[in-house]
Subunit: 233 residues, 2 copies
């Protein structure tokens, strides 16, 4: 029971339960459950999660209704416990988690908009960071995070000499600019390359290797989430 007492949040962004992303999410739930972890899944499409950052995220009156500043208003609302309930619920899940897994297909070298909206709205100033209070001092320090993603392109395309460049390049905004900024320890990404072009057997292999990795996930050391990991010297 390697994960006994550990809490895991899986933030999952795929429309189809029977998809390859769905299988990766399901196998994580099964393996982590077997370890004795307590698991919560935020299934963003199923929740019809709101991605747009708007005035609706603040309940009650604004501090400056004349000129709306999302960042200022959300920071104030966080301190007054006046954020909308969907944001508060997600923040509670993050607060309780030891590990957050993001499971998604790569859309335009990044997360799908529904997951970008989760990051934009949930990881707000006051909750996830403050100024000062970011990067190694981010408020979510002590927690770990993993990006588990699928790509359309092949591993060869995402190599240093490939047309799409090293896969580490596109991870920078997500792993460093977002997760590290909030203080997360970032574990190595789990990238399943081009499952749509793979055989059924290869796809099963990718799912199995994710499950296998999760068996020892609590012993993993984080990456050194700074420029050399991404861009070399």
């Amino acid at each position: 029971m390697a994960g006994l007492g550990k809490k895991v949040l899986i933030v999952y962004a795929h429309q189809e339960p029977k998809s390859f992303n769905g299988s990766l999410k399901d196998v994580a739930v099964a393996e982590l459950g077997r370890q004795g972890c307590s698991i919560t899944v935020s299934d963003l499409y199923a929740m019809d999660f709101e991605p747009r950052a708007t005035r609706n995220d603040i309940t009650g009156t604004l501090s400056n209704p004349e000129t709306f500043s999302y960042g200022v208003e959300v920071y104030e609302a966080y301190k007054k416990a006046a954020l909308s309930s969907d944001i508060v619920q997600e923040q509670k899940k993050v607060q309780e988690a030891d590990l957050v897994i993001f499971q998604f297909p790569l859309y335009w070298f990044s997360v799908p908009a529904v997951l970008k909206g989760w990051m934009d709205r949930v990881l707000c100033q006051g909750f996830a960071f403050d100024l000062p209070g970011f990067y190694d001092d981010g408020f979510l320090k002590g927690k770990s995070a993993i990006l588990s993603l699928t790509t359309g392109g092949t591993a060869e395309m995402y190599s240093k000499t490939g047309v799409s460049g090293d896969f580490r390049y596109f991870l920078w905004p997500l792993q460093h600019g977002t997760l590290h900024f909030c203080g997360f320890k970032v574990l190595a990404p789990q990238i399943s390359f081009a499952p749509e072009f793979a055989s059924e057997e290869e796809r099963r292999g990718m799912v199995a290797s994710w499950a296998e990795r999760l068996k020892t996930i609590w012993k993993e050391e984080p990456i050194d989430c700074r420029p050399p990991w991404y861009f070399g010297q």
Copy 2:
């Protein structure tokens, strides 16, 4: 009348018309209008633009209703002219434009979710690219694009030795992975650093320098949108 007959689409993602982003959008409309350009603005928050990529983007029946694949279904729907009307309208605007300007505040080293959703949904396979038919062969070749963005952090933070790394690092997924992938010629980004920490005079200076740049925008050469521009070497 440097821009006579030219068509410009401004994809604008800020909630507040009186914001600094709003001023940058307004000055672009004014300057390009003075040049004789025809200008269209997609004001994404005002339009309540849908960011989520879902089954609703396809009108009529699906090619595989058993297992929903967004990419497959949208590609088919594009070919059958069965995409939802909000996507079709944006695609028409892009098709007609010589230049697309994206005006937005940087959220998590990237675009706000509402603009990510515009990219996810509008720039679909068949319309913006095909396989093959990407990067230099992308279907939007012949058009130019500029990212005009504001940051929270200072220019010093976004330098090679700063805590957030060179600003070019976070541009990679947007400029290369998205715009270049679709064939756009990418003009140098217009970055207004930390307007919230600037004086009123400095902010006016940033708006004026954007207007000034736009006076000769039609003579600009695109950047060489490949790894050396971003990562050196």
